[in-house]
Point group: C3
Chain length 168, copies 3
Amino acid sequence: MGGARSGKSSFALNEAMKISGRKAYIATAQALDDEMKERIRKHKEERGADWDTFEEPLKVPEIIGEIKDKYSVIVLDCLTLWLSNLICGNIACSREIDDLVTVLKNSKLKTLNSKLFIVSNEVGMGIVPENELARSFRDIAGFLNQKAAEVADEVYLVTAGIPLKIKG
Amino acid sequence: MGGARSGKSSFALNEAMKISGRKAYIATAQALDDEMKERIRKHKEERGADWDTFEEPLKVPEIIGEIKDKYSVIVLDCLTLWLSNLICGNIACSREIDDLVTVLKNSKLKTLNSKLFIVSNEVGMGIVPENELARSFRDIAGFLNQKAAEVADEVYLVTAGIPLKIKG
Amino acid sequence: MGGARSGKSSFALNEAMKISGRKAYIATAQALDDEMKERIRKHKEERGADWDTFEEPLKVPEIIGEIKDKYSVIVLDCLTLWLSNLICGNIACSREIDDLVTVLKNSKLKTLNSKLFIVSNEVGMGIVPENELARSFRDIAGFLNQKAAEVADEVYLVTAGIPLKIKG
C-alpha cells in the first residue's frame, strides 16, 4: 500500500529479491504507446534473468491460479490499476474481486511456501472527487484494498520510500 | 482517521461494540434520496438493538452535550461530513468547531466513563484541488482533525481496514 | 511528511525550537498578495528573535549550502512548494533535485552538528488527477520525497497533528 511514487513497487521487488528460486512479475499496466513499451522493457531488464514477466491487465485471478505452483515468489503490480482496467473494460468488478480473494485464500499458496506480494495504491486520502466515476472508483479501490489486506499475512504502508508494517 | 473506504467506520463500531451498555450512533449523513435512506436503514439494522441512532447533519456539539450522560459509548460518524454540511449550509465553522472542542474537553465525559469515538477523513494527501472551495474545505478539515486529535485520548490511522495507533 | 494542514510545519518548528542557538527558516512560499504578506509577517513574529527568515522560492540548494555553517538548525518549509515553484518557472527539476540531494548528503552538515528539518507534502494518496500537469507534478513530488527521505536521518509522517516516526 502506498501513494503514487511512494516507492511501493520497489519495496515489493526488493523483498521478493530476497527469496531464492524462480520469480514471477504480473504487470497490470498496458503497453499502449512506445514510451510505455520502452518503460516496461527497461523494468524487465532491471529485474533480471530470475524473473518471468506476465503482462495481464484483466485476468489477474486466473493467472495467479495458473502460475502459483511454479514460482517461489510472485509480485502483482498493481491491484488498483487492475481495478481501473476492469472498470474501463466494463467488466463486473465484484465477481472478479471475489475470484481474486478466493485465489488469495487458497491454502495451496501457503503450503507450497510460494509468496505473493501485491502492490496497491491508497487513493482515498484526497478531497472527494467531483467526477462521479472517480468517486465510485475510489470507493471500490478502498474496498478492494480492505479485502486484500484482510487475507494478507503482512501489510506495509509505504511513504516516501519508507515501509511501515501495519499488519503481521 | 482514514481515507475513503478505509474501514474507519467499521473499526470505530467494532471498538464500540466491545463496551457494554447503551450505545449511541450520531450519523451526520443526510438521507437525501431513496438509495441513501435504504443504506442508512440497513446500517441501523446491522448495528442492532443496543444502539440508538441520531441523524444530525449540523448540531453535533449540541447533541453530544445532550446525550453524553445517557450512553456508555457514542460513535460520531463522521466529522468531515459534519464540516461539509456546515459549509454547504453557510454556517460559520469556527464557532461550531470551538463548541465541539469544548464539548470534547468537558470533563464529565471522562468522569462518567462514557466513551466517544469520532470517525474522520484524511482529505489532505492528494494533489492541491483546482477548485477554491475544495482547497478551503481541505484546510479547515485538516485543522478540525488536528483539534479533535489533540483532545482525544487515542487516535488511529486506518488504512485498508487496518488500524494503526498513532496516539495513546 | 504530511498532508495539507496536517500540522507538519508546526511539528518541525517545535522540534527545531528544542535546539539552542541561531535558527534559520527557509520559506519557499511567495508573498504574491497582501494577505500572503500578512501571513508571512505573522508567522515570522511567532517564531521570534532566535530565527532568521529566508524567503527563497527557487534557489533552495544554494541557500542551504550558503547558510548551513552559520545556524544550529535550519527548517525548510516546504519541499513540495519549492518543486511547484521550479515547475511553474520552467526550471529543469531533475538537476535541482540532484543539487539538493548533494547538499543534504554533504558531510559538513553533520560534523558541524547543525540540523536540517525539511517539511514536505504527501500528494499521492488521492485519486489520479485528470490534469496531465498535476499527474506529472505528483510523480516528481513523490520521487523527491523518496530522495529526501533516503538521505534523512529521521522521517515522520504527520496526521492530524500527530507525528509518527517512520525512519530513524
